[in-house]
C-alpha cells in the first residue's frame, strides 16, 4: 500500500488537520499508511488531495486534547494525534482513561508542555508603554510552542481597556480596545526597549528576595532561563545569588542593637483607645461605610434619647425612612407609634432603631419595593448594632420581628416560638412581631386580633421596663 502524505501549514494548523482526519477516516486509512508533513510551500511532492468528508464523532476529551497538542512544536504531533484518533475509533473508545498507555502518556506530556507554555506566556509577558501621548503598550515574547492565538484571549479579558500588542517570532496579536487581530511575525526591535516602571519593578523584585532562603534550582525549575531575556527583573538575579550568603552572615553576626528611639508609651496607650465613644461617632462610621447593597439614599440611624430605658429594634428602613433619614416614619412606624401610645409608652421616651441601617429594595416601575435582608447582610450590620446597645445600656431591648431577633441573638429563631421575654447577651429582651406584619394580614378580623396581641406585648414591655426601674427585679405579673 502507498504512503499518503498530508501537508499542513507551519503553526497550529487545526483546520487542515481536522479536515484530513475526516477524509482519512472516511477512506479507512490506518496510521501506518499516512505521513504528515509540515511545509510552507505545499504541493512540491505531489501531496494527497484531501477532499471534504463528513465529520467524525470523537469523545470530547480527545478533541480537547487535539486542540492543545496541535500547538506543540514537535513535527510528529499530527502523526501521534492521528494514531490516537484511529485507536479511539477502532475499539478503544476509552483509551484516554488509560493514562499508562505509552501513546496516551506521550500525548499527555505534550499537552502538558503546551499548557505550561501558555501559562508561562500569561505570566511572563512584560508590557512596555510605547512612546507617544496615547497610552499604548507592546510586549515582545518568545513562546516555545505555537500558542499565540490560544494565549491572546486571556490578555483581552484582562486588559480590555488597554491598547496593546504582543509581538512574537511566530506572529503578533493586537487589541485596539474593540477587536483582536493577528498579524505577521515580528522582531524584538519592534517593541519599545524600556519602560519607566521597570526600574521600580526590579527594585521590588530584589527586595522581596530573602537571601537566607536562596535556592536558584527551585527558581529555574519554575522560571527556565530561556524566558529570562524578556523579563526586566531577571537582570538582578546573578547579583542576588552572589551576595546572598554574605548578607545572611552579616545578619547573623550582627549583635542585637539598642532601640535608637524611646518607647512611645503615650502612642501605645492611645492606640487602644480607638472605639467610638458616642452614638454620633458610631453613626459617622456607619455613614462613611456606605450601603452594603447599593441603592439607599442614606443610612438611617436610631432615634430617641440616648439613655432610653427601652430600645426597639426593627428590621431595616423602608422607602419613607430612606427618604427622610429617620426610622419608623412610614406606615409600619405610624402603627407602632399608635400602639405604643395606647400601651402607655411615649415614643419620645424610647429609642427606635433598625438591625440593618440601609434600605434595600427592588425597583418596580416608580415604586421601590422593600426586599428582605439576607442573614449574611443582617450579620454584616450586627457589630454596629451591638456597639449601639453597648453605648446605651438600655434596660430592655425589644426585637420587632425575626430579623431583629437574628441581629440581636445571632441565631435565626421563628417568632411564633420565641415570642415573649428573652435575653440578648447581657440585655433583658422581649420578642414580638414587626408592625409591618400587622399591615400585611389579609382580613380585618385577624388583623384586629393580631393588633390586640401586639398591644398586650407592648403592655408587658411597658410593665417590664417600669418594674425594672423601681426594684431592679422583674415583677411576677410580667413573667
Amino acid at each position: 500500500m502507498t504512503l499518503h502524505r498530508i501537508t499542513l501549514e507551519t503553526g497550529a494548523d487545526l483546520h487542515t488537520f481536522r479536515k484530513a482526519v475526516r477524509w482519512l477516516i472516511a477512506e479507512e486509512l490506518a496510521p501506518q499508511h499516512v505521513m504528515f508533513a509540515i511545509d510552507d510551500a505545499p504541493g512540491l511532492f505531489g501531496d494527497e488531495t484531501v477532499s471534504e468528508a463528513p465529520p467524525v464523532a470523537i469523545p470530547k476529551g480527545v478533541s480537547r486534547l487535539i486542540e492543545q497538542v496541535v500547538c506543540h512544536s514537535d513535527p510528529e504531533r499530527y502523526a501521534l494525534l492521528y494514531g490516537l484518533v484511529w485507536r479511539v475509533l477502532n475499539g478503544e473508545r476509552d483509551l484516554l482513561e488509560v493514562a499508562s498507555d505509552p501513546l496516551v502518556h506521550r500525548i499527555d506530556l505534550m499537552a502538558r508542555s503546551v499548557r505550561r507554555d501558555l501559562h508561562k506566556m500569561h505570566a511572563f509577558v512584560r508590557f512596555r508603554r510605547m512612546p507617544g501621548e496615547l497610552e499604548r503598550f507592546a510586549a515582545w515574547f518568545e513562546p516555545e510552542h505555537f500558542i499565540l492565538e490560544a494565549a491572546a484571549p486571556f490578555f483581552v479579558d484582562r486588559f480590555r481597556s488597554m491598547d496593546w500588542t504582543i509581538l512574537t517570532p511566530i506572529g503578533s496579536a493586537r487589541w485596539d480596545r474593540h477587536e483582536l487581530t493577528f498579524g505577521p511575525p515580528a522582531s524584538r526591535e519592534d517593541a519599545p526597549d524600556e519602560d519607566s516602571f521597570e526600574e521600580g519593578w526590579r527594585g521590588y523584585y530584589e527586595s522581596v528576595f530573602n537571601p537566607a532562603r536562596v535556592n536558584p534550582t527551585a527558581m529555574r525549575a519554575e522560571m527556565p532561563k530561556k524566558y529570562w531575556r524578556n523579563m526586566p527583573e531577571t537582570a538582578a538575579i546573578p547579583g542576588l545569588i552572589q551576595t546572598a550568603a554574605q548578607r545572611v552572615e552579616r545578619m547573623i553576626e550582627q549583635e542585637a542593637t539598642m532601640p535608637a528611639k524611646r518607647t512611645p508609651e503615650r502612642a501605645i496607650q492611645a492606640m487602644w483607645d480607638q472605639e467610638p465613644k458616642t452614638l454620633e461617632e458610631l453613626n459617622a462610621i456607619i455613614a462613611k461605610a456606605g450601603p452594603l447593597v447599593p441603592g439607599a439614599t442614606q443610612a438611617v440611624f436610631g432615634e430617641g434619647p440616648h439613655h432610653a430605658e427601652i430600645v426597639f429594634v426593627g428590621e431595616q428602613p423602608g422607602d419613607q425612612e430612606d427618604l427622610q433619614g429617620r426610622p419608623f416614619v412610614g406606615p409600619a412606624g405610624k402603627l407602632l407609634t399608635k400602639a405604643m401610645r395606647e400601651a402607655g409608652i411615649e415614643r419620645e421616651q424610647a429609642y427606635l432603631t433598625n438591625a440593618v441601617k440601609h434600605f434595600k429594595f427592588e425597583q418596580r416601575g416608580h415604586r421601590r419595593i422593600h426586599s428582605k435582608p439576607t442573614a449574611g447582610e443582617v450579620k454584616h450590620y450586627r457589630p454596629w448594632l451591638m456597639k449601639e446597645l453597648e453605648l446605651m445600656r438600655p434596660k430592655l431591648v425589644v426585637a420587632l420581628g425575626a430579623t431583629a431577633v437574628l441581629a440581636l441573638s445571632g441565631k435565626a429563631t421563628p417568632i411564633t416560638r420565641s415570642r415573649g421575654r428573652a435575653t440578648f447577651g447581657p440585655y433583658q429582651g422581649y420578642i414580638t412581631v414587626h408592625p409591618s406584619y400587622l399591615l400585611r394580614l389579609p382580613d380585618e378580623a385577624t388583623k384586629r386580633e393580631a393588633y390586640q396581641a401586639f398591644l398586650s406585648d407592648l403592655h408587658r414591655i411597658h410593665d417590664l421596663a417600669q418594674a425594672n426601674l423601681e426594684t431592679g427585679e422583674l415583677p411576677l405579673a410580667a413573667e
Binding site: 493514562a99 499508562s100 521600580g200 480607638q274 439576607t374
Partner: protein
C-alpha cells in the same frame, strides 16, 4: 516612576517578604469591564520567581512599616532600628495599577504595621482596596491582611473588597504569643477568624462577595519551642474550625536588626518543607495528626524522609499494596504516589492490568513506591522488611540552602 516612590517601595517590600503567602488562587473567575482593568483565573499566576524559588504573584507590600507593636520575631517591631517608610493610599493604588498594566502582578497583597490604632490602620488598607475597585474598576486579585485588634465592622467591610483575608497566627501557642508578641492575643485572633469564617460561608450561600477566596494564616516555625506535632495539631484545628484555605509555614529566618530575645540561626527550611508535606497528608490523603505523630520522633518529623514514607516504614504490616486491586484510600498511603497518580491508576486499571512500567509513567516517585507495591510483574517480597530500607530510600537533599 519617581525616585522617592522607588525607595519606599524597596523598604516596604523588604518589610513584607516574611509573609509566605503570595498566592492569587481561589477567586471566582472574573473578566475586566470595557473600561476597567483586571481579571482573575482560578489557580492564580506566578509572574516571576525570585532566587529563593518563591513565586511573585501579588504586589506584596506594607502600607507602612512603622509599628506600635513589638513582636520579637518581626523586622518591623517598634524597637527595631530599620529604615521606616509609609505609602499614601494613592501611592499604593498607582503602583498596583501601573504594575498590573505591565503584567508584572496578579494584584495586591496589602499588609501593614500598626500606626495610630488598629482601626485607623485597617481603615487605610480598606481605603486602598475600595479605591482600586471603585475608581479604577480593578478586577484583579486583592488580598488584605486583617488586623484582629481592629473593630469587627472593619472586618465586615474588608471582606467586601478583598478576594482573600488573612490573619497570621504566627505562633501556635498562647504561651509563645505572650512571650514573643506581647500586644497580640490568641483569643482575639481566633474571634476574628471565626467572624470571617461565618461571613465567608454565608456570603457563599447567598452568592454575595465576601472574601470569596477564603482565609489563610501563617505560623512561624523555629522561633519558639513548639514541636511539629503541636504545630500540626494547631493546623488541624484551624482547618476544622475556620475552614482555612491554607495554613502557611514560614521557617524563622534571620532579619536585619534582630531582637536580643530571639537569637538568629539559618532558617529550618527542611523542617518547613516536611511540615507542608504533613499538612497535605492531613488535607488530601486521609491522615490524621495522631498517625503522623506516631511516626515522628519526640514530636518532630523525620527530616531525611517525607512523612508519608516515615509512616509507611512504621506500618509495614499494611503493605505491600496491590496497585491493581487496593482501594483508593490505601493507594493514597503508598509513599511516592501522589493523589493525581492514584486517580489515574484507579481509572486506568478498569481497562488494563498495570505493570511496573505503567506505574512509572504515572508517577515520578516510583523508587519510593516500589518496596510497598505489587504490580502484575512485581512483588517486593522480603525487601519490604529489610532493616536498611529507610537508609536506602533517603533521597539526597537537593540544594535547599547554602548552609545546611
Amino acid at each position: 516612576m519617581d525616585e522617592k516612590l522607588s525607595k519606599k517601595l524597596r523598604i516596604l517590600a523588604d518589610a513584607a517578604k516574611y509573609d509566605a503567602s503570595c498566592s492569587s488562587s481561589g477567586a471566582p473567575k472574573r473578566k475586566s469591564d470595557p473600561d476597567g482593568l483586571g481579571s482573575t483565573v482560578g489557580t492564580g499566576i506566578c509572574h516571576a520567581y525570585t532566587p529563593d524559588g518563591r513565586c511573585v504573584s501579588l504586589l506584596k507590600i506594607l502600607l507602612t512599616n512603622y509599628c506600635l507593636f513589638n513582636c520579637a520575631y518581626c523586622v518591623n517591631r517598634r524597637s527595631s532600628n530599620v529604615k521606616r517608610a509609609k505609602f499614601s493610599v494613592d501611592e499604593v493604588v498607582t503602583l498596583t495599577v501601573e504594575f498590573y498594566k505591565r503584567n508584572y502582578i496578579e494584584g495586591l497583597f496589602l499588609s501593614s504595621g500598626i500606626i495610630r490604632s488598629p482601626d485607623y490602620t485597617m481603615e487605610q488598607m480598606i481605603l486602598v482596596a475600595k479605591k482600586l475597585r471603585r475608581d479604577h474598576g480593578f478586577r484583579g486579585y486583592i488580598h488584605l491582611k486583617t488586623i484582629p485588634e481592629a473593630s469587627p465592622w472593619l472586618i465586615e467591610e474588608a471582606g467586601l473588597w478583598a478576594d482573600r483575608l488573612s490573619i497570621n497566627l504566627e505562633l501556635p501557642t498562647e504561651q509563645s504569643l505572650e512571650q514573643l508578641a506581647p500586644e497580640k492575643d490568641g483569643a482575639s485572633i481566633e474571634t476574628a477568624m471565626a467572624q470571617m469564617f461565618e461571613r465567608i460561608e454565608e456570603a457563599r450561600e447567598e452568592r454575595r462577595h465576601f472574601s470569596p477566596a477564603g482565609q489563610t494564616t501563617q505560623m512561624i516555625v523555629g522561633a519558639d519551642e513548639t514541636t511539629d506535632t503541636d504545630v500540626l495539631r494547631k493546623s488541624a484545628t484551624l482547618y476544622g474550625h475556620y475552614a482555612m484555605k491554607r495554613v502557611y509555614y514560614s521557617a524563622f529566618s534571620p532579619i536585619p536588626d534582630s531582637s536580643a530575645i530571639l537569637p538568629l540561626k539559618s532558617p529550618p527550611l527542611m523542617r518547613e518543607n516536611r511540615l507542608y508535606q504533613a499538612d497535605w497528608l492531613l488535607r488530601y490523603y486521609g491522615f490524621d495528626v495522631d498517625e503522623i505523630a506516631s511516626s515522628s520522633e519526640k514530636g518532630m518529623l523525620d527530616l531525611d524522609i517525607d512523612p508519608k514514607l516515615a509512616w509507611a516504614l512504621k506500618n509495614r504490616h499494611r503493605f505491600p499494596v496491590d496497585v491493581n486491586r487496593a482501594d483508593r484510600e490505601m493507594l493514597l498511603r503508598v509513599p511516592g504516589l501522589g493523589a493525581r497518580a492514584v486517580d489515574k491508576i484507579v481509572v486506568a486499571r478498569k481497562h488494563t492490568t498495570l505493570r511496573l512500567e505503567d506505574v512509572a509513567r504515572l508517577t515520578s516517585g516510583l523508587k519510593r513506591a516500589k518496596p510497598f507495591l505489587i504490580t502484575a510483574d512485581h512483588h517486593p517480597k522480603a525487601r519490604l522488611d529489610k532493616l536498611d530500607l529507610r537508609e536506602r530510600l533517603i533521597e539526597k537533599p537537593e540544594q535547599l540552602s547554602l548552609f545546611v
